[in-house]
Amino acid sequence: MKKLLALLLSGILLLSCVGFAAAEDNKTLTVVTWDATTTPYLIAQKEAYEASHPGVTIEYVDVASQDYAIKTTTMLSGGDKSDVFMVKELDDIIKWQAQGFAEPLNAYVEKTGYDLSGFVGTEKNYCVEDELYAVPFRSDFWVLYYNKDLFDAAGVAYPTNDMTWDEYADLAIKLTGDGNYGTHYHTWLSAVVNWTVADGVNTLADRNYDDLLYFYQLYQKLEDAGACMAYSELKAAGLHYSAAFANGNIAMLPMGYWYVSTLINYNKEGTCNFNWGIAAVPHAEGVKAGSSFGNLTGAMINAKSENKDLAWDYISWLGGEEGAAATASVGARPAYVSEKVAAAMSSVEGFPTDETSKGALIPAFVGMEWPVAEKVADIKTIVNEEHSMIMAREISPEEGIQEMNERVAELFE
């Protein structure tokens, strides 16, 4: 009897380990993304797609934004069967392609005669050896946000779409005082020095970081003048740029285009109630005005998905003109470029109506924040580590840059 009981108990345990997969409804498409409940364009895309495709339900799998790359890669390694994965960083898709998680898309493009011209070449960033692995649906580049009320109060003219970094620094210092900061740098590497890639020549993986010196010195000059909050305080307090700018005492903020939809919402909800505008980010001497850097966001089909055709229908819709219109309708910038989309972007309720802001919608050049390159994950770690040392003033910019050069060179020895 005891034996039987023991057998039974171990049997139950074994069974419970196996588990049962729930039966799937094949009209539901699972899409892995981040901040699904708070990101306006995700909500708009879901509504628009479900409205035009009766019987299909989009189900978002929400992953914490800051751990997105890590968590999704772990999910995919574990054999997750979610149909679509959104691609947050460029090197994610390269990684996933190498690991065999991403479904090759050229066959689908041919089969459905999908038109890629609207992506104006950006889709090439998702190609490995001419095979497409993801469809871009958002293309964010960095712009300069400014608080019109603070400029008005100081009697200073608004930033223009053609301004050098030195002019910007003078402007920031002029607007500092009375508890106001002229500008704000978020703690990211990108917010401080990524501007160097706007010339179309430099990249952050080119193994030479001497070109960052100018931007570190510019930052330290502004920090010394009290024109921006100190890095070490921001880091220790974990202050988010969106809350900082919404506070109303920061005159300018270089930040990605995605912040437009957040600001529009803040204005609606009353989280902040000042007038704001956007301008093109400043440019270095000799670099064309309106040049910036940015990032692509896309969607790929999981090679293990059981609804690949439906998944293709969804991601091709998402990247195409209809999806782009849905994305633009809440103030986000789609990757697909057309007259219709541009009109939709500037006509969003709450978007600034001045000509400068409208002009800033069309950048002259957008470099990639991080290029696709050999050992880019290692380079990222090294550059970020030295960045934190320079920003915390543990070492001088010159020393930090020398460290970057030496340590990155060692990777390739």
Binding site: S10, S77, Q99, A230, E233, A237, A377, A392
Partner: protein, 318 residues
């Protein structure tokens, strides 16, 4: 061949024995199964993985590389050229080892001292229960909350810097943003959090100190301090040993405080073995190298554990 074949009753007994053994095993099975699936197999897999290159895709992408992962994390080529100083100052693994050992070497004695001091203070005073609860509280409080609160207290104009400045210190920077002080902020939080837990262990041990010994010492004219030094402390030796071994092991596995407070920074000044493993495995998706680093951690912890097992036997034989 002199042994007789087992007679009737002997056979019966052995059958009963076997039956009993089986029943015992079946009771152990559920626990062992869980251990095997969630601990033993992953550990064995990690040992094997440290000899492979794997980026986390299908298992078919495993590529045997022998000891190359170890050569890479030790950066043997460069270290052979430039010596050990290079290893501890430039190579990620060397820096992580140095930081972890430093953290452990400071945290363990500090925690033991403060836990023992608290236990002595709270052993027989009025309201001890309330104080014990207060000092134990950090141990049950949420780690994230603790770390965030301490980060604020250790900020540039935070209360701790204000206090130190009033005492004449010239340090005026957030602790977590200073490459020298960042590791101390982690030590401080760890000691503060853990001392309540070890205090409880010491309090229990103090109850086991024979009163006769203390009385005898009093009769011989020993003051409080001498009693503590020559009676209480030696009596607590097994406890102190146990506590220090447990602490050394948990210190080598430090991750949470670092991840929340400094994320290994500034630069590499608070990079620990486990944060390094995490970085290699999950941000750079190099499971082979991450496993190789884990093996180094495993060896360190294993050595300490063996020492503990050996000495435990010695203490119990005493």
């Amino acid at each position: 061949m002199t042994a007789k074949s087992p007679s009737g009753p002997r056979l019966k007994a052995s059958r009963l024995e076997r039956k009993n053994t089986l029943i015992a095993y079946s009771f152990l099975a559920p626990n062992f199964l869980g251990f095997a699936i969630f601990t033993l197999l992953p550990v064995l897999f990690a040992i094997a993985l440290s000899l492979f290159e794997w980026n986390g895709g299908d298992i078919s992408r495993l590529k045997f590389v022998g000891l190359q992962n170890y050569a890479v994390i030790f950066n043997t080529k460069k270290v052979a050229q430039n010596g050990l100083e290079y290893f501890f100052n430039r190579v990620d693994l060397g820096i992580a080892l140095k930081n972890t050992v430093f953290y452990t070497a400071v945290t363990v004695p500090l925690t033991i001292l403060s836990a023992l001091a608290l236990a002595m203070l709270l052993n027989k005073i009025k309201g001890a229960v309330a104080f014990r609860t207060i000092f134990f509280f950090p141990y049950v409080a949420s780690m994230v909350a603790i770390c965030v609160c301490w980060s604020f207290m250790l900020m540039k104009d935070g209360p701790i810097n204000q206090f130190l400045m009033a005492l004449g210190s010239t340090f005026n920077k957030s602790w977590t943003a200073d490459s020298g002080m960042a590791i101390w902020s982690i030590i401080l939080v760890s000691v503060w959090r853990n001392m309540g837990y070890y205090m409880v262990i010491y309090l229990a041990a103090l109850q086991g100190v024979p009163r006769e010994l203390l009385e005898a010492a009093t009769v011989d004219g020993a003051g409080k301090w001498k009693q503590f030094l020559h009676v209480t402390l030696p009596q607590l030796r097994p406890t102190t040993f146990f506590v220090s071994i447990m602490m050394i092991i948990s210190c080598f596995k430090i991750y949470d405080v670092v991840a929340i407070m400094t994320d290994g920074g500034p630069g590499r000044s608070t990079k620990m073995l486990v944060t390094y493993i995490y970085e290699e495995a999950f941000t750079k998706v190099r499971y082979g190298q991450a496993s190789a680093i884990s093996m180094i951690l495993l060896v360190i912890v294993l050595v300490i554990t063996v020492i503990q097992f050996r000495s435990e036997k010695k203490f119990s034989n005493d």
